[in-house]
Amino acid sequence: MPSPETGADLPSALQRIPLAFRAFFRALSDPAFAARVKAPAVPAEAAPAPPPPPPAPVLKTATPDAALQLLALLQRDARLIDFVQEDLAGHSDADIGVAARVVHEGCRKVLREHFTLQPVRTEAEGTPVTLPQGFDAAAVRLTGQVVGTPPYRGSLSHRGWRVAETRLPKLAEGHDASIVAPAEVEL
């Protein structure tokens, strides 16, 4: 409600007609509003401060160290960076397959040693599942005809993966994690 002292931006006569009606009905239904209309002498400063605007959402920034660590592990055990940085053109599928074995075996080792992976849903894929009200939308993604109300009935197309435990190496203070694979010089 604009205060009487404010000269600028006053409502026009046409705007004042619906406003008067709204004030009439609100005074009728809202005793607190009626009290403020009844005592116009109350200084404007005493009016409750407008609620603060909702804070802007803060997005987390992941620290690069853990990502670099994982990259270093995937390079050390699986040669992942070597593999992905190469241009596949000019290599036969057989040669790529040979290298893929190294990458697959190594990645598997890294996942096994550093993460405990569990499926989100234990049902077999392709079987019907029912999601009750309040299911965890972060853990289960709905697709297709997403309409209606819970419980939702559908078919499990992917079981999902959940990391139950993460075991990354602890790093010494001052360790440069950005070297994900040191150069090697044989003496």
Partner: protein
């Protein structure tokens, strides 16, 4: 070296004082290739049900990166001063280390072997070298500051202690009850060195336990009491323990006494340096020979990668009998992975030829190990087994121990009196090698064929063993049962011991006087007992070190203290490290010969000690094992 100690100091150093208020019984498996620490929470355990666990051992896995792992690889890396950045060797409990042990030591050492100490345990029991001399890594150039086999063991043990203390600040390691395992075949000098290493690593007084016994304890603990149903009085359990670097056999008899089941360890095998690592190496060499035949020669770096790949292929093929082959890839060393990698495969035929025929051939019970060097086993310095066939070593062991039940009539009565070898009725497998059901089956079928040939029933396999961690778990459980909480395996010394005395025949110039063997410790001396004084005296020279030849026998059960052997069969007595003693002058003229008797004592800690006792028994001097390698021969 501490040449002479009075009995009083000896007993203080070896006092059997497992801390009475210890909260945990800790078991340490100090292995050739891996070490582990297991524990039993004494207060939280009740009878057959124990609260137990394995310590995740914090260790370096890469420069500056520390991770918890269930096993600590028994490797020590001695880096060059410029090799790593400051802080790269930082552990949660120390920042100033100039060496690394564990996984990082092993992986870094694979590319720089001149700075890597491996198989320290095999060196610790190598009679040909000085175990207290800085000789490792054996191939290191002079610039590298070498360490002794003893010191390397101290560092592994100290790392485990520090890792425990870091994880359990509320229960200091030094106040717990600690058991350290050793191969059953360790001779008295190697046992003594292990106890010494534990002491130097800041351990409280430890108890030594034989690894095959630890494996059986682990099986008992895991059964939570059901073991009493799984074995019956009269059973003879064969423990076959094939670790990364050694093979170890023991026989344990099940005896009923006053209504209770008792376990008696009646025999142990000889020291055989032969294990899973030899098998991986042999496979890699077989594959490398095939590649060489196709025109691809591998360098040392690729050879190590091939060994790793062969191990994975071996485990896959051994785990699934339906697979005919498994591909092997040796990745390129440079960043060009595609096109630069070498691909081959390990076929089942190759696996069978190398592993099953090479290490587990189906031989007769009368087969004996061959004394010839095999390709793929030789490594500078260590006396690896000349015959790789585990089954032949086992056949020889069982035949040697055909009389092992002589002191247990109830068990002996169940054996065929005409048997050519001791017939086990049950078998317990231990060691990572036996994760493969195929290898278990292979060894079992050889054993069953021997038994069937003599009309004996097949041996039952005791199921449910945890192959990687059984020794550490069993050691912790042993610490728990030592407090009277469960069945204890009785054993005593697994050998009789003899001192060489020169015969009194007149000296013939140019001919070494024949040596007679004087028994100083009989077979099966219980821990915590002292042997009687032998009637025969030997002479010690005042002020000069005097050496005695020393022998052990794992088959002469009947000899008593004072028995003198004029001659013996070649495989009856084995010469061990020499003994030496130095008499301090103490009021005697130097050079005087003092007649003494040698008396042996089996300590509660599991070591053997010898004292020289002067006439009248008033004075005693400690007799030391000569661990300097070759002295006295």
């Amino acid at each position: 070296m501490n040449a002479t100690r009075s009995k009083a100091t000896t007993e203080t150093a070896r006092a059997d004082a497992p801390a009475a208020d210890a909260r945990y019984a800790i078991g340490i498996d100090l292995g050739t290739t891996h070490s582990a620490l297991s524990w039993v929470d004494i207060g939280a355990s009740d009878g057959d049900r124990t609260a137990h666990g394995v310590l995740p051992v914090a260790q370096l896995t890469a420069p500056g990166a520390v991770e918890d792992q269930p096993l600590l690889p028994s490797f020590l890396y001695l880096p060059h001063a410029d090799e790593l950045s400051p802080g790269d060797l930082t552990l949660p409990w120390r920042a100033d280390a100039d060496f690394a042990v564990g996984q990082f030591a092993r992986s870094r050492g694979a590319t720089t072997p001149i700075r890597l100490v491996s198989s320290a345990k095999s060196w610790l029991c190598h009679p040909g070298v000085d175990r207290r001399a800085a000789i490792l890594p054996s191939e290191a150039p002079p610039e590298v500051a070498k360490v002794s086999p003893l010191e390397a063991s101290v560092r592994y043990l100290a790392h485990l202690r520090a890792a425990w203390n870091h994880a359990h600040p509320e229960a200091p390691f030094e106040a717990q009850n600690v058991t350290v395992t050793i191969p059953a075949s360790f001779d008295p000098a190697a046992r003594e060195l292990t106890a010494e290493a534990a002491q130097a690593a800041g351990y409280p007084p430890v108890t030594l336990l034989e690894e095959p016994q630890a494996a059986l304890y682990s099986w008992i603990a895991a059964s939570e009491g059901r073991w009493r149903k799984a074995v019956t009085p009269g059973d003879v359990i064969l423990v076959v323990d094939v670790g990364g670097g050694t093979s170890d056999f023991s026989l344990i008899a099940v005896v009923e006494r006053e209504g209770n089941l008792e376990l008696h360890r009646v025999a142990v095998g000889d020291h055989i340096l032969l294990g899973g690592d030899n098998m991986d190496l042999a496979l890699a060499h077989a594959v490398a020979r095939k590649l060489a035949g196709q025109g691809t020669t591998l360098d040392a770096w690729q050879m190590r990668a091939l060994t790793h790949a062969s191990r994975v292929a071996k485990e896959t093929l051994l785990g699934d009998a339906s697979l005919a082959s498994h591909p092997l890839v040796v990745p390129s060393r440079g960043s060009k992975l595609i096109g630069g990698s070498v691909r081959t495969e390990l076929t089942r035929a190759e696996l069978d030829a190398t592993l099953l025929e090479g290490f587990f051939p189906q031989v007769e019970a009368a087969a004996r190990p061959l004394a010839r060097t095999r390709a793929g086993l030789a490594q500078l310095g260590l006396p690896y087994a000349q015959d790789a066939a585990v089954t032949r070593h086992l056949a020889a062991f069982l035949a040697r121990q055909v009389g092992a039940l002589a002191d247990l009539p109830a068990n002996a009565g169940r054996q065929d009196p005409d048997a050519s070898f001791l017939h086990p009725t049950a078998v317990l497998f231990n060691g990572g090698v036996f994760k493969s059901p195929l290898l278990v089956e292979r060894l079992r079928s050889a054993l069953d064929a021997w038994l069937a040939a003599e009309g004996a029933p097949p041996a039952r396999v005791l199921e449910g063993a945890d192959l990687d961690l059984a020794v550490a778990r069993g050691a912790a459980y042993h610490g728990y049962v030592r407090r009277g909480r469960g069945v204890r395996i009785r054993g005593g010394t697994a050998r009789a011991y003899y001192v060489g005395v020169e015969s009194s025949m007149p000296a013939v110039p140019g001919v070494e006087p024949p040596v007679r063997a004087l028994c100083v410790a009989p077979f099966g001396m219980e821990e915590g007992t002292e042997a009687e004084l032998p009637p025969e005296e030997v002479g010690l020279v005042v002020g000069e070190p005097v050496h005695f030849r020393f022998f052990g026998s794992s088959v002469r059960r009947q000899d008593q203290v004072g028995t003198v052997l004029e001659s013996w069969a070649a495989d009856e007595l084995q010469e061990l490290e020499a003994l030496h003693a130095t008499l301090p002058a103490e009021g005697r003229p130097a050079g005087e010969v003092v007649p003494v008797k040698l008396v042996a004592r089996a300590t509660e800690a599991g070591t053997l000690e010898l004292d020289a006792v002067a006439r009248g028994g008033g004075e005693r001097w400690k007799v030391e094992f000569d661990v300097r390698g070759g002295a006295g021969e």
